[in-house]
């Protein structure tokens, strides 16, 4: 089989699996698990084969035109370069892990068949985005992901949190998708094609008339999908979905789609210095803000969600300085260790019976109960904090190096032709270093609170299922060792070196260590208070499937702690570190309130206005029509006196009037 055929099969297999799963889910429950796992594993194998065959060589393009559209043609096009091949491997790897993990995590869930089918469909859509060489086809996958995300976040639709979160995720991403669509049309209008290769050629020839507006429109969609400020608010709430969904969608794939699309279209953005500056500023705000927020969260998954937002900020930062190699490198590394973090967090939540870090910090020996999750999570947190030699270190260093080069005016990945403004470099570099401190701080806080608690012995629920633990170790491998591939990767990407330089390595590692040590010191100071203020609640059904524990934990968080995100825990080192910032940071800097004031209230006001108009104005006309005919009928009834002479008088008066009118008219006409 040719490479193209294999590449076509990669998104097709999960799609067929999804269709079969949805059709057979009820009639043949025995086939559901194989149907969920096997096609994704096969797709993984195929994606690896495609990657090996592509081998970092020149991009493979294949296209077939289904039908002429009359204007800008839409092609079923494949574009296989190093980025696509490696991203597809990551997607299939994480998807396989998630499917295997889900068989255990949701083992007794009555809605597992539809869940597995939707995950397969989601995987297929993401692979379509990755491999597609045509922006319209890419958009199809992009929107299918959005709708699948809606369904999967709302998996526990019995709880109000999940319902609200799924709607919010859908609406907020759609808020970005509308400008994105307009941006695509603007791009096609300028270049006359939806093919990415064609667009890039046109940009190279300088045929793009409005690069800034187009880039900013596209940026809105990317910000929605990749959870960048100011459209990031859906991601922390989306943690109401099951943990595997969070791992797949909100860590490794869907949020990466935005970054991936910018990477594919980077020349369009690079054509406008303003767009790059905006991208850099957004990335900086996202990084630092999410780091502060992560430090204040109580829900372990929300910490990870804010961390995801921050790491995506690194990627957009790398794109802002024009180095898509560094961005995709970080995307791959982050996808691996963040999926691992989420899946391990699922194990932790199940073992502890709670998702609250405050409650975990009052449990002793949680690490001993779940050694696999403990060790893999430690690995992943080290990778997240960018401690050498883990994967996160190398990818983050690549970003920082690119930013440093830009800031110092050295030649960048884009070459001399497209000058990236030095300001963008400085913004990304400074905020990146600041975020490194925060990242190390919240990673340390998470680890200390979850695994170094004092108090009662953690409950023993027996060993975690093999499917879950095995997956953790599979993902631990790239988290540990992917960084060593740094010297090889430039062959696959733009050929720009991604190895760390001494300055940034020392600087980055240094600030990370500082963040970790300060957090540790604070924790030593505050942990003594934990015993004094008892806090926490655990799930009511500790022996049920893990997903039930998690759903219960999420549903009880607000009643138990008074807030979905924060807990009034005096032993929290984050509280001391942030000081007065803690309260706004726990609430995501009240961005939701801003959205409420900006969008929800006006829409509600408009709706109530329409309701008022309908009830009071339109209804009045309707009633008036009825009352009018009623009144008319009443009048006519009054006229029916029963007196024949009255009738006759009216009749004759009418005839006389008509006769006189006829005569007068005849005279007038005769006279004229």
């Amino acid at each position: 089989m040719t490479t193209t055929t294999l590449a076509v099969l990669v998104p097709l297999l999960p799609f067929l699996a999804a269709a079969a799963g949805l059709l057979l889910g009820r009639t043949a429950p025995g086939f559901v698990r194989p149907l969920a796992v096997v096609p994704v594993l096969a797709a993984l194998g195929l994606a690896v084969t495609v990657a090996v065959r592509q081998g970092g060589g020149p991009a493979i393009d294949a296209a077939t035109r289904l039908t002429p559209t009359g204007s800008v043609p839409v092609d079923l096009a494949l574009h296989l370069d190093g980025f696509a091949a490696l991203t597809a491997v990551l997607v299939t790897l994480v998807a396989s892990c998630v499917q295997i993990y889900s068989t255990a995590y949701l083992r007794d869930d009555p809605r597992y068949p539809s869940y597995a089918a939707l995950v397969s469909l989601f995987t297929s859509a993401m692979l379509l985005v990755v491999y597609s060489g045509d922006l319209m086809v890419l958009l199809v996958g992009w929107e299918v992901m959005g709708i699948c995300s809606y369904f999967l976040v709302g998996h526990y639709w019995e709880t109000p949190q999940a319902r609200a979160a799924s709607l919010k995720a859908f609406l907020v991403t759609k808020l970005g998708d509308v400008p994105f669509l307009i941006g695509l049309f603007a791009l096609a209008a300028d270049t006359g094609t939806f093919r990415i290769t064609g667009i890039l050629e046109a940009v190279a020839d300088g045929r793009l008339d409005h690069p800034t507006i187009t880039a900013l429109l596209l940026l809105a969609g990317v910000a929605g999908k990749s959870a960048q400020f100011p459209l990031h608010t859906w991601l922390p709430d989306a943690m109401a979905g099951p943990t595997p969904v969070s791992a797949l969608i909100h860590a490794a794939t869907m949020v990466a789609a935005g970054v991936y699309v910018v990477a594919r279209l980077l020349p369009v953005f690079a054509a406008s210095a303003a767009a790059l500056i905006v991208l850099a500023v957004l990335a900086a705000i996202t990084m630092v803000g999410s780091g502060v927020c992560a430090l204040a969260q109580d829900d372990i998954k929300r910490v990870l969600a804010y961390s995801t937002i921050g790491q995506l900020g690194y990627m957009t930062g790398a794109l802002a300085v024009g180095d898509r190699g560094a961005a995709v490198f970080h995307l791959l590394a982050h996808g691996a260790f963040k999926a691992l973090l989420f899946l391990a967090a699922g194990v932790v939540i199940h073992a502890a019976g709670t998702n609250s870090l405050a409650a975990m910090s009052r449990m002793r020996g949680l690490a001993r109960r779940i050694p696999d999750a403990y060790w893999t999570m430690t690995l992943a947190l080290l990778a997240l904090a960018a401690i050498p030699p883990f994967a996160g270190f190398f990818s983050k260093e690549a970003v920082l190096v690119a930013a440093e080069h830009t800031a110092l005016g050295e030649p960048t990945a884009l070459g001399e032709a497209a000058a990236v403004p030095a300001g963008a470099g400085w913004i990304v570099l400074v905020s990146g270093l600041l975020t490194a401190v925060l990242t190390a701080a919240y990673a340390t806080r998470l680890w200390l609170l979850a695994f170094r608690g004092h108090g009662a012995e953690a409950p023993d629920h027996g060993r975690q299922p093999l499917a879950m633990n095995a997956v953790l170790w599979v993902l631990a491998l790239p988290s540990l060792a992917f960084g060593l591939a740094a010297p090889l990767l430039p062959d696959w990407f733009d050929g720009h070196p991604l190895t760390p330089t001494t300055t940034t390595a020392v600087l980055g590692t240094g600030v990370a260590l500082v963040g970790a040590l300060v957090t540790y010191a604070t924790w030593r100071h505050t942990t003594a208070r934990a015993g004094r203020s008892p806090l926490g609640a655990v799930a009511a059904h500790p022996d049920a499937e893990p997903a039930v524990s998690e759903a219960e934990a999420i549903a009880t968080h607000t009643p138990a702690y008074g807030d979905i995100a924060a807990a009034p825990d005096p032993a929290d080192p984050g509280r001391l570190l942030l000081g007065p910032l803690h309260r706004p940071a726990a609430a995501g800097f009240h961005l939701d309130a801003v959205y409420t004031a900006l969008f929800v209230r006006p829409v509600r006001a408009a709706a109530s206005l329409v309701a008022f108009l309908d009830r009071e104005v339109v209804e009045t006309y309707v009633r008036g029509a009825g009352a009018g005919s009623r009144l008319l009928g009443w009048t006519v009834r009054r006229a029916q006196t029963g007196n024949v002479q009255t009738y006759l008088i009216v009749l004759l008066a009418g005839s006389t009037a008509l006769a006189v009118a006829a005569v007068v008219l005849a005279h007038v006409n005769a006279g004229s």
Binding site: G626, R630, R637, Q640, G642, N643, V644, L652
Partner: protein, 149 residues
Amino acid sequence: MHLAYPAVLAALLFCTGLYGVLARRNAILVLMSVELMLNAVNLNLVAFDVWLRDTLHAGQALTLFTIAIAAAEIGIGLAIVLMVYRNRATSDVDRLRDTAEPRPPLSSALRATDPDTDAPGGPAGDADSGDPDPDDPGRAAGEKAEATA
């Protein structure tokens, strides 16, 4: 002779009869007024027949027919008036108002925009207006008895 004289006289007589039909209360006086109107028409017919010198004398023939029909009409009309008088003890035209619509108050027209409250009101009103029909023979019989007593 000027044709205008008989024509104007006929028009005035007709309108006099018209006034009588509309204004008189007694049914027999109404019949008299109808006779006046018929005679005004007859005058017109005769006058125009004479003016046109019609060989068939259609005007005069029609006048004769009209007179005959008027006689028949007065016979039938008087018979009807007598019957009404026997049944109702009156021959006043404006008291024979059985076909009158019952007069609902204005509030019933303005109220009841709500179909729920309207539904009971509507059939009730219909029932009221329908009631007199079954009652009518009884009432008529009573009046008749009164008349013959």
